[in-house]
């Protein structure tokens, strides 16, 4: 199993998901309840278990910016302090749930479940295209019953597009084109580039751009370990310098629990930005592509879980970036062992 890197920022939700209702998520094994303050509009993240009998606060109700446990009425303020218990005036001194640092940026709600003293908001990686008014974005989130390392592996090696996503985003050229890999271990960034000078145009781009012939297709991945993955895609009719169709594909890879991961995905484009038909097509089409990955990774995890004994992997050139990512994740996990205390 890929170890969790605790002292890191992770995407817990899209900004639009956090509102008046209580939203339950599990981040690195920690149950979390998210909601938005009615006083100042800020996102709040508390541990999602009442200290009394562990009832989920996300299944309870709000009293202003406080949450009243739906089982026995223990009430917690937005900082996690218990301010009221039923039938008595004295609130036990230890009655408090953890409050997690939160940063809202680029339409994403980032959370820190590690050592609170180490949380540095300036280190949240950026995805500014998600809120760029010159681009249109479709997005979604799919939970996967797989080790988050399997999703990292999947995204760092796009040669699988040819086989798993053939007829959608994959063409023969993706798997056949050599890659360049750059690794900045200090910054925790892996970059993988695959530049196809003359490639078949897959339906994903043919139907959204209107290109009918072959294309120049540039894929430049930037993986900001452990959570944020950006695929900068540039499509141009082959042999021409314009127009350039720019698509930014974003993934946030958030481990939920051992063997479970949240797959946040988004596709942003700088063409046909007001075309609702293109928007609907890309939303549906990309959801189908994501579900192909979800099904494959669920299947792969089940296969790995039933391995009768130790097994040996075989890595080839296409795995160069994914192997680098594994090393960085291992180093980050070893460096961050702090836990948030209630």
């Amino acid at each position: 199993m890929t170890q969790f890197a605790r002292n890191q920022w992770y995407v817990a939700a899209y900004t639009t998901e956090v509102g008046d209702d209580l939203l339950g998520r599990t981040i690195l094994g920690e149950p979390v309840v998210l909601y938005r303050s009615r006083e100042d509009g800020r996102a709040i993240a508390l541990a999602d278990r009442c200290v009394h009998r562990r009832f989920p606060l996300s299944e309870s109700r709000r009293e202003g910016d406080s949450i009243m446990c739906g089982y026995h009425g223990f009430t917690y303020d937005r900082a996690g302090a218990c301010v009221s218990v039923p039938g008595q005036t004295r609130v036990p001194r230890t009655a408090r749930v953890a409050s997690y640092p939160v940063v809202e940026q680029d339409s994403l709600v980032w959370i820190w479940v590690g050592d609170p003293a180490a949380a540095d908001a300036s280190r949240v990686p950026r995805a500014p295209h998600l809120v760029d008014p010159a681009m249109t974005t479709v997005r979604g989130m799919e939970p996967i019953d797989a080790d988050y390392g399997l999703l990292v592996d999947n995204l760092l090696d796009l040669s699988h597009e040819t086989y798993l996503h053939g007829g959608y985003i994959g063409t023969p050229e993706v798997a056949a084109t050599p890659i360049t890999t750059e690794v900045d271990e200090e910054a925790g960034v892996v970059r993988v580039s695959r530049h196809m000078a003359d490639a078949e145009c897959p339906p994903f781009y043919a139907r959204s751009t209107g290109i009918e012939g072959r294309i120049s297709r540039l894929q430049d991945i930037e993986y900001f370990a452990p959570c944020l993955y950006l695929l900068h895609s540039r499509i141009t009719p082959v042999g021409r310098s314009a127009p350039v169709f720019r698509t930014e594909i974003t993934y946030a890879i958030t481990p939920s629990a051992p063997g479970k991961v949240y797959d946040f995905w988004a596709v942003s484009r700088d063409f046909a930005v007001g075309d609702e038909e293109v928007t609907a097509f890309l939303r549906d089409f990309n959801h189908t592509v994501v579900m192909q990955d979800v099904d494959a990774l669920n299947l792969l995890q089940r296969a790995l879980d039933t391995e009768p004994g130790p097994y040996q992997e075989l890595s080839i050139n296409i795995d160069t970036g994914a192997l680098a990512a594994r090393r960085i994740l291992a180093a980050l996990a070893a460096a961050g062992t702090g836990r948030a205390d209630a």
């Binding site: 050599p178 690794v183 271990e185 890595s315 050139n317 795995d319 192997l323």
Partner: protein, 59 residues
């Protein structure tokens, strides 16, 4: 004003037309390798891969 410190970036190019990987360390050392496992083993051997061979040692 001092210049920004150089980033320690490893680079691996899969050379077109074949299966060879061309690995470059941030220190300037360079080597071609047959697969990514040996690539990373070589790169992460820094700084030993950059040292000149010992006296009388293999070139």
């Amino acid at each position: 004003m001092s210049a920004a410190p150089e980033r320690r970036v490893y680079r691996v190019d899969w050379l077109p037309g074949g299966d060879v990987l061309d690995a470059r360390c941030f220190c300037g050392a360079r080597s071609t390798q047959p697969d990514p496992v040996t690539v990373w083993a070589w790169l992460l051997d820094h700084p030993r891969h950059a040292a000149p061979p010992p006296e009388g040692g293999r070139p």
